[in-house]
């Protein structure tokens, strides 16, 4: 009976599995297949070679990869630090105000990312909101705050803030107040409370928030283009130019595969370390 049940489980899962394979895995397979085609071809009807991957090593694309991953790590770390207190307040302190805050943060997502970033360009540029006002108040003018690496990280932090805040608040909401009170009663310091009770119990939310921010930041292009003046060339940009101006689909596909492999490995490793079912209300 148990075996029959197990088989029925697989069978009932079959239609949705097929749909998921078709919609998510098939495009990835096409990209993977293109990545092993000879360079500069536009169909999959060629004998595979790995020259596109060789090109990545030869032409120094690792530099873009390191910049993308490095900035994604920095943005994720900054986001975690600044979102934690706010997420804590949303989950444990604010009551009705949480709704106001949620609506406020979600509303920013209604406006396109490029337009929001362009708003920052107008704020940070020479003669913009900050430099212009300071100069008109008699301070010495300066060259604007754009076109460098820190401003790109700032852009990533700004754009992906909601993606850290909400999972984190959800994670913190899972920490039972009883557990915190018990820890304090038993003499835990604030630091011990955070490290030994709150962080481990909120881990699913932390992992989801960090993963979302890291994955999105690693593939982000607009922040580097609009705010950073391409002070560094990011991986997403390399993929885009390989497919367009480069007219080298296999190279673009190989670059994308490298990024997918790294991000996929990080995601699988992180997800395997926490009990996501607890967060989504599944089995305990």
């Amino acid at each position: 009976m148990d075996r029959l049940n197990a088989r029925l489980g697989y069978l009932t899962a079959l239609p949705i599995t097929a749909l998921l394979l078709l919609s998510f895995v098939a495009p990835l397979v096409v990209v993977a297949a293109f990545s092993i085609m000879p360079q500069k071809v536009f169909s999959l009807a060629h004998l595979p070679d790995f020259s596109a991957y060789g090109e990545i090593l030869r032409q120094g694309y690792w530099r873009s990869l390191i910049w993308s991953l490095g900035m994604a790590i920095a943005a994720t770390a900054i986001l975690f630090v600044i979102s934690w207190p706010l997420a804590f307040a949303m989950a444990k302190v604010y009551r009705r105000f949480t709704l106001v805050l949620t609506v406020g943060v979600v509303m920013t997502l209604f406006v396109s990312e490029n337009i929001r970033l362009f708003g920052w360009v107008l704020t940070l540029m020479k003669g913009g909101l900050i430099e212009g006002y300071l100069r008109s108040w008699g301070f010495a003018g300066f060259d604007g705050l754009l076109y460098n690496v820190p401003v790109i990280v700032f852009g990533l932090v700004y754009v992906y803030f909601p993606f850290m805040l909400f999972p984190l608040a959800q994670g913190i909401a899972m920490v039972p107040d009883d557990a915190r009170e018990a820890a304090v009663d038993l003499g835990a310091s604030r630091w011990q409370l955070l490290r030994e009770v709150e962080l481990p119990l909120a881990a699913p939310g932390i992992v989801i928030g960090c993963l979302l921010c890291f994955v999105l930041s690693a593939g982000a292009i607009a922040e580097s283009k609009l705010l950073g003046g391409q002070a560094v060339i990011v991986m997403g940009d390399e993929v885009e130019t390989a497919f367009t101006y480069g007219q080298n689909w296999p190279l673009g596909a190989a670059l994308a595969m490298v990024l997918i492999a790294i991000i996929g490995a990080v995601a699988l490793f992180s997800v395997s370390r926490v009990d996501l079912d607890a967060m989504f209300g599944g089995r305990k």
Partner: protein, 378 residues
Amino acid sequence: MTFTRREFNRGVLTLAGLGAMGLGSRALAARTDELNILCWEGYNTDDVLGPFREAHAGATVRAESGTSDPDMVNKLRAGEIKVWDLINLNQPWARARLYPEGLIKPLEKERFMPYFEKMAQGFANPPYPLAFADNGDLIGMPQRYGPFSFVVNTDKISREMAEDQGWKLFLDPAMKDRYGILTYDNWNIIHMCLTGDQNPFAPLEGDGLETFRATAGQIFGGAKLLSDDLVAMNTALINGEIDAYFTGGTYTASPARLDGLTNIRGITPKSGPLDGKGGVVWIELTSAVNNPDPSPLAEDFLEFVQAPEICKAVGFAEGTYNPVAQMGNPEVFALWDEEELDAIQWDSLEEEMARSVQYDVVTSYDELYTIYNAAKRA
């Protein structure tokens, strides 16, 4: 209430089935009253499409604006040849990629040749030669064009000085961190060749590639910012963060000029390595896509955009403003007022065209692109 996996699957499958039926019915619909245009911005505005829709009541006319020539070429290559009826892009892509690969088809000469007669100098008598394939087939109709070299703020760098210095302006140590690069990669490569006194349209190898490497390194090394967004580049120029940008022309400077900022000016160098010429001009072609189920409206639309009011709407669409080949016809020219002519630098257009060569296929593009990209990354 419980919701089993089986019920969930049934719901998903029902939705998927309905979706597939929707797609199927669209695929079976006749295409006699449908027109899909893939184009640079301008042809997709209501000023252009509105009158065409009125004239063809009942027809579904859609136009989508592309973000770059290669991006549009990719769409056709990736199978969208079945979707589009017309494609509008710069002529080298039509001549070197689309036509040889069978993605576009020749136009009826009897129907379209007469339109060349009323066009401006360079497009009429003889008809614009690059609108034809090597075998003489007419592969597209020209309309918008413009010189495309670089742009300066004439309050900081005078027009005369910029024209005299030409591309060497960007190698001047005094210009370090005073200019941006508009990263239209294929154009940057042409312009970097010209800066290094090289002909981009001839094969380059050995020492030629080394010269290009040195020029690209120097140009990227001295740039304050890179962007593929002309608005960002004009903004930086207007607020004084940069005094010039590498790669640009009437197309990119015109929006700022129409806003009254006539100190933003496209510059065509007075001299250069291409038989004494240092400027380059782009010319768009609108071609019929080799759609297996073609729409008869495609060629009707190509004729429709030759009408004076529509020529004006195409040349003066939202975003960027450009001269059109049909301005050789006095009826068309009369539709531009003084400010609009100033925005497209009409006063110097003829001399700039005379100092420019046609945008063409870069012979050693693959090698140069690799070097260009490495320099950009470094």
